[in-house]
């Protein structure tokens, strides 16, 4: 039977006494974290699905590095399809002295065939869809291009030999999704203006995209017609393929952030369980009294469950609202990186967050609260009587069910849920063990420290179960934060460190054969030391020993980047300084004109290419076969021009060729770039310092997002701390009163508490440092391919940060214990 008014009155009174605050705070944290990520991924996901066909800009796209045969387009139109062409290339865009590498896209009337371009009048102004395109002589650009070049809408920029007036800012454009974190900001212009730029020359690195749209059946027919005609330099992308790629990226992001949120929810759950247990224990007497007055078990459930439910509903509602606000923070942090404008928020992430709150409450709070119905009425006469403890399987089973239910939502895969669960339990067990070890070690110092520390360390040991759960919560959170911070700084500094003073920091590509000498002498005249100029021919590796490469390699190898794009092929007689012949021999004069090739060692290893193998290349629609006569090691990090495939002279020189080189420019020499680019319009200069800077910006943004989400985890950790404090509050009050009655000063008591929580935080920090070091080692060696070195500063910062943070929080949390009069407390006991 539900005694609703009575239940509400009890709830209101308990609320005033502050009993349920921790429980509510923990729930709010769980729901806020869950709702924030829910909103974020939902809005992004729907933004993407809404624009799925619009992403591609067509129903079918054919990518090619050179123009396709005219009859392919004729055939498309004969089959009733619309067909248009776009051209993409990288080019330096210039405003006065400032220049920036930009991803230029030239389009024809009718672009896009599907979806729409969204533009705004100024950077970060509200955007809207448009049917228009830039007029001839105009350009639309990404906001970053404006800010980096110090431009405004209405200004002019130079692209190659041509000047274009910027008339709009692009916020979304179909077909740009493949590389949402791309380094070069977009510039959209008319195809008709391309010739005037003089950027496009034979051998230039270009991407032609042919867009087709029409009835589904017609598209399928054309696809079937086209498929057998495609060469190695072609790639066909339909809506499905494009959607899948985008979906995977999103899914990964979602899972990554989901794990952080999951940690926050589990920690919040632990806090909820602790708070609920305390709540339950404080109501044993009430329950016994009510039983005496004739309340049945159902009556008691009818009193307590509505209270719990209402707490859950209110906390979840507050969490939903906070989550709704917090998602804007997340979107703001990631602004500029998002591939699409997020869709308008829907209600369901709020509902899902709400459900998370109720599930967390049910899983973690229900078992202790259910104990209330089992309080024996005889407790009114014999205070020592307790209800049977909840069965362990019930407590852990309910919590586990709640965790699995929430986890499954984030991972959407049973194997992943299971592995995360098992991994999490194993990690928690290991950390608990280490925490116990450190706690017992800390006791050894007991005899050598002052009374305050002894009091603090004793407290930690006496309540070790609760201490360990707090240490666990904080060490995990600190560890996650430290790893993220470490990876960020290490990746960036490693990249920057790999650019020592004398190493080239600029690449010039697309140098036309007739400009090679002039270009080299311009650099020399300016006093810039250049590397050798290497010819570059673009071709694809298509056969190994006569077998199509896609068949002769395994499934994993098939996804190798080197097989899925055109390689830069070169010829030279001089072996690069940092290259080393591992097997075979370097070119001798007699090799000239012979179809032979030298292969980079790691690629050879990956594709199982051996000495004497016959490699087939597709270059400009023709095929060429060459024998492997040497295998070379290459230092890719040297930032000097390097190649997978090196031929002897006069083997591939009949194909369209451009040249490339690298050189070192100091910051003060940058104006030279402007001259070079103005003079050699086809040349593209890659400023590696800028690229690294830009990657750094992107990286910082992404890691900031992760840290943003980790704040929820940290808050949940604090909820655990305060729940634990609340649980031990009565004991502490009694002890405090007793110590003071025995002559202890407030100051001693305060120092004791400070020592206790400083030690707790220090131990958590120490564990976090251990975990960080291990995790960083695995990450660096297995994932990031970075040299791992001992991070001594983490071993100092983490324990100190932990000690300060948790010391301060614990000190604050125990202030009431110190503030009460000892007399009063003893009377209460």
């Amino acid at each position: 039977m539900i005694h609703f008014p009575l239940a509400m009155r009890l709830l209101a009174r308990n609320w005033q006494s502050g009993e349920q605050r921790i429980l509510v705070a923990a729930l709010v944290i769980a729901v806020t974290a869950s709702t924030t990520i829910g909103f974020f991924t939902d809005r992004l996901g729907r933004g993407m699905t809404n624009q799925s066909a619009g992403f591609l800009g067509a129903d079918l796209v054919l990518e090619s590095s050179r123009p396709i045969a005219a009859d392919w387009l004729v055939e498309a139109r004969n089959k009733g399809l619309q067909a248009i062409e776009t051209l993409e290339f990288a080019s330096m865009v210039i405003n006065g002295e400032a220049l920036l590498l930009s991803g230029v896209k030239a389009v024809q009337d009718g672009f896009p065939l599907r979806g729409e371009i969204r533009t705004a009048a100024a950077p970060f102004a509200p955007d809207a869809a448009t049917q228009a395109l830039p007029l001839p002589g105009e350009a639309w650009v990404a906001p970053r291009l404006l800010t980096n070049l110090g431009l405004q809408v209405g200004d002019e920029v130079e692209v190659g030999a041509h000047r274009l007036r910027i008339t709009r800012v692009i916020t979304f454009e179909p077909g740009s999704v493949g590389n949402p974190f791309g380094v070069a900001p977009r510039l959209l212009m008319r195809m008709a203006d391309v010739a005037a730029t003089s950027v496009v020359q034979p051998g230039s690195r270009l991407t032609y995209r042919y867009l087709f749209a029409g009835h589904e059946a017609d598209v399928s027919k054309y696809r079937a017609w086209l498929a057998p005609r495609l060469g190695p330099s072609h790639e066909l992308v339909g809506v499905q393929e494009s959607g899948r790629a985008v979906g995977t990226t999103l899914q990964r992001t979602e899972r990554f952030l989901g794990l952080a949120v999951l940690a926050a929810i589990v920690l919040a759950g632990v806090a909820v369980a602790m708070a609920a247990r305390r709540y339950s224990e404080r109501h044993f007497d009430t329950s016994a009294m009510l039983r005496c007055m004739g309340a049945t078990q159902r009556d008691l459930l009818g009193l307590y469950l509505p209270q719990l439910l209402l707490i859950g509903l209110l906390a979840s509602a507050v969490g939903c609202i906070l989550g709704w606000v917090a998602q804007y923070g997340l979107l703001y942090l990631l602004a500029g990186l998002l591939p699409v404008a997020p869709a308008t928020p829907h209600a369901w992430p709020a509902l899902a967050g709400f459900a998370t709150g109720i599930i967390t409450l049910a899983g973690f709070a229900l078992p202790p609260v259910m104990r209330l119905k089992d309080v024996p009425p005889l407790r009114v006469l014999r205070r020592e009587l307790l209800p049977l403890p909840s069965r362990a399987w019930l407590v852990y089973g309910a919590a586990l069910c709640a965790i699995v239910a929430v986890m499954w939502r984030y991972t959407d895969s049973w194997p992943l849920t299971l592995s995360v669960l098992v991994g999490g339990i194993a990690l928690a067990a290991l950390l608990s063990l280490l925490a116990l070890l450190l706690l017992s070690l800390s006791r050894r110092f007991n005899s050598r420290v002052g009374v305050a520390w002894r009091f603090g360390l004793n407290n930690l040991w006496r309540r070790r179960q609760s201490s360990i759960s707090q240490i666990l919560a904080f060490s995990l959170t600190l560890m996650a934060m430290a790893v993220v911070a470490l990876v960020r700084t290490d990746l960036l500094t490693t990249w920057q460190a790999q650019l020592p003073a004398d190493v080239p920091n600029h690449f010039a590509i697309n140098i036309l054969p007739d400009q090679v000498e002039e270009f080299a002498s311009s650099l020399q005249a300016a006093g810039v030391v250049t590397e050798q100029l290497y010819p570059m021919v673009r071709g694809r590796l298509v056969k190994i020993n006569g077998t199509a490469v896609q068949k002769s390699v395994t499934k994993e190898e098939r996804s190798d980047n080197a097989l899925n794009r055109e390689l830069n092929l070169t010829w030279t007689t001089v072996l690069q300084a940092d290259n080393q012949i591992l097997t075979g021999r370097w070119w001798q004069p007699e090799d000239t004109g012979k179809p032979r090739v030298s292969v980079e060692s790691k690629l050879a290893e990956r594709l199982d290419i051996k000495m004497g193998d016959e490699l087939g290349f597709s270059i400009g629609g023709e095929t060429l076969s060459a024998e492997v006569t040497s295998i070379r090691s290459v230092q890719w990090e040297s930032f000097r021009p390097n190649f997978y495939m090196v031929f002897p002279p006069q083997v591939i020189n009949q194909f369209p060729t451009t040249y490339m080189t690298s050189f070192k420019l100091g910051k003060e020499e940058k104006p030279l770039l402007r001259e070079l680019v103005a003079r050699y319009q086809a040349v593209t200069v890659l400023e590696m310092d800028r690229v690294i800077e830009q990657v750094g910006v992107v990286f910082r943004q992404v890691t900031l997002t992760v840290e943003y989400v980790l704040v929820f985890t940290l808050l949940a950790g604090f909820a655990v701390l305060f729940a634990a404090l609340q649980t031990s509050q009565d004991d502490r009050l009694y002890e405090g009163a007793l110590l003071r009655a025995l002559g202890g000063s407030r100051r001693q008591l305060r120092s004791g508490h400070l020592a206790e929580f400083t030690a707790l935080g220090g131990i958590a920090g120490l564990l976090a440092a251990m975990g960080t070091e291990c995790l960083a080692w695995v990450l660096y060696s297995e994932v990031l391919d970075l040299q791992h070195s001992f991070h001594w500063h983490i071993w100092i910062i983490a324990p100190i940060a932990g000690a300060l943070l948790i010391g301060a929080a614990g000190y604050w949390g125990t202030r009431t214990v110190v503030g009460r009069s000892p007399m009063l407390l003893l009377q209460n006991q």
Binding site: H3, L6, D285, C292, M293, Q297, P377, R382
Partner: protein
């Protein structure tokens, strides 16, 4: 009103089984007032718990009115308590988060009574706390708290009132006032009163004494006078 036949309570301890009550046989008539007395550990509170249906005997039978408590499950006994029984405890057992009025309303609300507020307020006035309805227990003195507890016990007009050391936590003067109140209400409402006490003066005001020694009744004695 209350009958116990061959009532025994045995508990398992680390040192083996321990008999707390052995073969208790008693009957208490309606409107009778009975004091259970004895030294500490003689089994007084255990007997009270068994008679009130708070606990089950190891052997024997307990009837409250016509209900066989020994045959009922805990919820069944709770219903009987709700219908017939009121309690007053040594430690008052008031809910600290509720006002005096709300504490007294509680048993009425559990029974879904129509006008709990009016009845509770009226009874509090009768125990002299008409001006302190909205006070919380910690704002009341010990004697006042026990008066709230007495009001709470009588508000449902129970047929039987069990009291466990009702003056145990009070000084003599306050205890006397509380006892007067208890017996006055008992008389006015026609309640059967069973109380456990150390206090000889309090015991002497009951019509009958049941003396327990080591878990057995030694001498059912008629009291000299009634209050």
């Amino acid at each position: 009103m209350i009958a116990a036949r061959h009532l025994s309570k045995r508990v398992e301890t680390a040192a083996g089984p321990l008999d707390i009550l052995t073969d208790i046989h008693l009957e208490i008539q309606a409107r009778e007032s009975v004091a259970i007395v004895g030294v500490s550990g003689s089994g007084k509170s255990t007997l009270l718990g068994l008679l009130a249906g708070l606990d089950l005997p190891s052997a024997g039978e307990v009837f409250l009115s016509h209900y066989p408590l020994h045959d009922l499950d805990e919820d069944g006994r709770a219903r009987v308590r709700g219908e017939l029984v009121g309690f007053v405890f040594q430690s008052f057992q008031l809910l600290g988060n509720l006002t005096a009025l709300e504490n007294v309303m509680l048993p009425l609300e559990l029974r879904r009574d129509r006008q709990p507020r009016e009845q509770a307020a009226e009874l509090l006035s009768r125990v002299g706390l008409g001006e302190r309805l909205q006070h919380y227990p910690k704002q009341l003195s010990g004697g006042e708290q026990q008066r709230v507890a007495i009001a709470r016990a009588f508000v449902t007009e129970p047929a039987i009132l069990f009291a466990d050391e009702p003056t145990g936590n009070l000084d003599n003067v306050t205890g006397e006032t509380v006892i007067d109140l208890l017996f006055r209400l008992n008389r006015d409402k026609g309640t059967t009163l069973v109380l456990v006490t150390h206090d000889e003066h309090l015991a002497s005001r009951c019509e009958r004494l049941i003396h327990l020694e080591a878990g057995r009744i030694v001498s059912p004695v008629k009291a000299a006078s009634t209050a």
